[in-house]
Amino acid sequence: MTTTDEIETRLVRALSFEPSADGLRWLDQRIAQVAARPAVIARRGASPLRRILRPLALVAALLLLAGAVAGGVGLLDQIFESSGMPGWRIAWDRAERLDIKQTDAGVTITLERAYADLNHVLVGFTVEDLPAAPLSGHGEPYPIEWRAELRDPTGRTAEQWATSGTGTTVADANLSAVGNFWEGAVTPVAGTWVLTFTSVGFNAGGFVSGECYVGNTDPACENPPPHAMVDGSWRFEFALPAPAGTVLSPNVSDTQGQATLTLTELRISPTMITARIGLRVAGSTVADWGPAIGWGPWVHNMSIRRDDTAYDSNSSTHVTQDPDAQGPYGDVNEFMTIAGADVATGSWEIEISELTYRSSIYDPIEQEGIHLSGPWALTVTVP
């Protein structure tokens, strides 16, 4: 018979996760930086906090291949064909062919292609000659991880402008291929980009089971999986043309009841449409909101259309994390589509039929939030 005490003990142990050593170091540094800027606390009009990005130490989705070696570009092709993201496919197909190799610490990284438009930056690279990936308990290799810094032609790092970063990998024999995307407001200038890797490999050893408390004689705790990150310096400089796309600042609004939505920015590029929309509710604080009924599983209850073409939006980023730092248009979200447009001309309409907001990000999230009915229609015509 299993007693309650045993169940509770099992639960505590099962949930005693330990962060990876590298990850904890990163978190400590990150919070130290945060705590070093006390002026942010009460200052009105401070720069809005963006969603935090872990700087390119991405645990990427892993696509395991069976069969013949496909080669670096072939592997990368598979990533973009499998992504379900039309915009990514466009980026890969239109990317500059670079084929730049750098070797350090016995590991060769090849920057195959790179692309930038006003919403996206893509780099596709391969990694050769890493030590064999450690195997998990299920006999599968751990996915590759990497740590890198990307600087645009003005010297800004991706952390300064990107709202999200995504890496996908595919591996075959001695070769790993990675497609790494950054989304955000890309600087609209041609010039030289610099991508510098400082670590690449398999971070399996970063995790130590929560079972490994002092005195535990479990062999897994005595012999944790190897830490197989390879530190080095692989630096790539490459030129890209001026990012394609159009940025509009229409500031068009629609009010229904007490709620006003304002389209403050529309970024139209070949890989994605980004709509930045603010919500103000008269007599109420808006700390966060979204175009859905309720605050549960998120449904993007909105449409972005240009003339007869619809663009699906499946993601958003909360731009104004601090209610005290909101501008005149209230709490701002940035909505992103999975496909883009080569030309901006036409009549763009964004319709949001329902929305839910909450008045404090520090309060418990209620299942239903505060629900408002529209519709709100935001239209901008580009001649």
């Binding site: 169940i7 992504s83 993601s315 980023t317």
Partner: protein, 179 residues
């Protein structure tokens, strides 16, 4: 690296905390609570990196919102875990489902654990927790990963202490029966 399991008396309420938080002590607050915040978030995410991202977001939000903290709202740990829970829900709703080549399940409240990184017994019990109703999962994770009392959990999820206690007891009963 050898990790140390810090045993915590789950029944002890938050004690000796000031009514307001002093920004100069934020580092201490972080050091004291980072593990419980991380563990709760790790139980709700699919990777160490995701949990660390959300932990960073939690402490950034906390630092920005220090002025809003009130001791009567459940204490520091409950306040931090409320922020962490909100951040996890936010992250889930912004997830790009088509990008997830691994096909990972990102449902709200689902205990997302890479079984290959846990021993068999732990993987088994976490899998069972993942099958519980969302409110029971929530209560169990806040109690056994976050280390909160039922009363503190009530402040996090906006429910009464006795209602939370019932959710915990139901969840444990279901687990006990399954074992």
């Amino acid at each position: 690296m050898r990790a140390t399991l810090v045993e915590k008396d789950l029944g002890q309420p938050v004690q000796s905390e000031a009514e307001r938080l002093d920004p100069s002590e934020f580092g201490l607050l972080y050091e004291r609570h980072r593990l419980s915040v991380y563990r709760y978030l790790r139980a709700r995410t699919h990777s160490d990196a995701d949990a660390l991202d959300l932990a960073a977001e939690t402490f950034e939000r906390a630092f920005t919102g220090l002025g809003r903290f009130r001791r009567r709202d459940g204490g520091v740990q409950a306040w931090l875990l409320r922020i962490a829970r909100n951040a996890a829900i936010d992250a889930h709703r912004r997830h790009r489902p088509t990008v997830d080549l691994a096909g990972a399940d990102a449902h709200l409240g689902r205990v997302a654990v890479e079984a290959d990184r846990r021993d068999q017994a732990s993987a088994e019990i976490l899998d069972l927790v993942g099958r519980l109703p969302a409110d029971q999962q929530d209560a169990l994770l806040l109690r056994y990963a976050g280390g909160l009392t039922a009363k503190e959990i009530g402040f996090v999820i906006g429910k009464r202490e006795d209602a939370v206690q019932k959710q915990i007891e139901r969840g444990l009963a279901a687990l006990r029966e399954a074992f």
